[in-house]
């Protein structure tokens, strides 16, 4: 499934084109530093929003993991909640019953997620397009059902309670603000990693696979291997996010990881823009932030989110952020032409 290869030929394949205005390397770095300053200042400037930011940051990690698989390789995974569940319940169970240190528990769960993704990827990625989306949707359904059926491990429908908070070298990450800063660091590291993969040959290979799997295979690319790798990356990030979710909420239940959540993860990615790093952030903020627009608005949230997705998918194929940068790019090239 290819989300974003229909852009006009003038913008296609041009990496953030002309070196003027906001698109130049220097001002991009400046914008990055500015964004970081804002991100650090935010919980102090608006303390009431910190809880929301923590949840948005958790989903940013999940959505970011999908960019390689969905934005580039063109495979829609509707089942990322499976890996969030492994991360959440895994870290919870290891710390609760086995008294593992929290960081070790999260890493162990991430390793398990990687193995599961490797096995499932080998099976599923032979399926194409819709069939892969369906199989992963099956994972999301199975995740929710299994979470309530496997009472011994997960606590069933009433959930797993009293999960400890994250501990980093003797410091307990308990408050919203502390959780936010841990996630900020994790998010920046993850974004840097994904940006590197995108820029490296792997990213180009994945794009080629997304654009035309047949042609990519003819060039001698082992498409299944690359797609599986992207799937594993998405699983590890989702698992770590799931662990953080468990440590933050100190609670896990089947509702937290329902099919609706699985769908909304893909909505966040598509909404923001599937091929950029800012897109996932924007998507997570919009979808998680909608309910805070007001108590009565919370009731409207699913409806508005749906309309938003339809409008964006119809008119802005590269998502909100993709459309924005495309606009900036056109603006800059017009300036170039005028010069």
């Amino acid at each position: 499934m290819t989300v974003s290869h229909t852009e006009s030929p003038t913008t296609a394949g041009k990496p953030a084109a002309p070196r003027t205005g906001l698109t130049s390397r220097g001002s991009r770095a400046l914008a990055g530093v500015g964004a970081l300053v804002v991100a650090v200042a935010l919980p102090f400037a608006a303390p009431g929003l910190t809880g929301l930011l923590v949840v948005a940051a958790i989903f940013f990690l999940v959505v970011l993991g999908l960019t390689l698989l969905m934005g580039h390789a063109g495979q829609v995974s509707l089942g990322q909640t499976l890996f969030m569940a492994i991360g959440g319940y895994g870290a919870g169970a290891l710390t609760l019953s086995w008294h593992w240190p929290t960081v070790l528990a999260a890493l162990a769960a991430a390793a398990l997620s990687a193995l599961v993704a490797l096995a499932l990827g080998r099976l599923f990625l032979r399926l194409r397009g819709y069939y892969f989306a369906l199989a992963t949707l099956g994972l999301a359904v199975a995740t929710q059902s299994l979470a309530s059926a496997w009472t011994g491990l997960t606590g069933g429908p009433s959930g797993m309670v009293a999960i400890p908070s994250l501990r980093l070298g003797g410091y307990t990450v308990f408050s919203d603000r502390a959780n936010y800063f841990v996630l900020l660091v994790a998010g920046v590291l993850a974004a840097a990693f994904i940006a590197n993969v995108k820029r490296a040959q792997t990213g180009r290979v994945l794009t080629a696979i997304g654009n035309d799997p047949g042609a990519a295979a003819m060039l001698g690319i082992n498409t299944a291997r690359y797609k599986t790798m992207a799937f594993v990356v998405s699983a590890v990030l989702a698992s770590l996010a799931g662990s953080m979710y468990a440590f933050y909420l100190r609670f896990m239940s089947p509702d937290v990881l329902g099919v609706t959540v699985a769908l909304s993860i893909v909505i966040m990615l598509a909404l923001g823009g599937a091929r950029t790093l800012v897109g996932p952030l924007l998507g997570a903020l919009v979808i998680q932030g909608l309910p805070i627009a007001g108590q009565s608005f919370a009731l409207w949230e699913p409806l508005v989110a749906g309309v938003l997705l339809i409008v964006v998918m119809t008119y802005l194929p590269r998502g909100i952020w993709g459309a924005f940068t495309g606009y900036l790019g056109r603006l800059a090239s017009r300036k170039d032409a005028a010069r």
Binding site: L123, Y130, S148, V259, M313
Partner: protein, 292 residues
Amino acid sequence: MTGLLQVLLGGLVDGCVYALIALGMSIVYSISGIINLAQGGFVVLAALTAVSLQQSLGLPPLAIVPIVVVLFAVLLAAVDRVVMMPGARRATNDRMLLITVGLLQVIGGFVLLVWGNLPYTMRAFTGGDMVVVGGLRIVPQYFWIAGALLVAVAGLWYLLNRTRFGLTMRATAGNPRAAALQGIHVGRTRLVAFTISGAIAALAGTAVIPVTFLQFTTVTTYAVTGFIAAVAGGLGSTAGAVLAGLLLGLLQGVFSRYTSGDLAQVAAMAALIVLLLFRPTGLLGRTSEVRR
């Protein structure tokens, strides 16, 4: 033994609904290549609309059926014009899947707004006592549900194989470009496909609501289960949709007898994934549709 048969019967009834959802998706897919993930959502919406209409108009439930069927035929035609057509003109069929995810979200949100998160049910179409056959208790409404499936299948078969317009539809399904070159108005054919899927959704919703409770959360459940049945049957195959829907219902029935309902879901999913791995195009799908 009777207990098992009773469970199988219940599973079969659920399966009829899954089959109807898959049927609606299948007809739209074969004409337009669009997977309408929201089809199951429309079934729940139709059911809740029927409940509210029945309560406010005070009509007998059976009289509500044609009203809801017409209403949803028109609604889905409007959805095609307002949502699907602008989308399909710009987006690939692949991205259309995400648009229908959005549509499903819209339906869920609408249900939440109008009906809240409470379960609803309705009086049965006809009163009368349970029929007992060899210890097997059959609620009269079961016959109506099976009847709805029969009517939908027979109607579709007649339309597709015995009418001139059916020929047009089959031509469009086979190759939209060639059909357009032959002078077939593909857009209009698609509109009809959506209209039919709306009528089928209404039929399914009104038939099932007297024997179950539907609410905000069932929107996703029905959408997902219907999607699974449609794909398991082989996208675009009418017979496959019915077969897979019924099998899925039976499978869930059997598993829920021996395990918890949740594990039944997991088992159904595992069965589907195994099926897809061996037959990537579903039970009755054409292999040409999948290039490896």
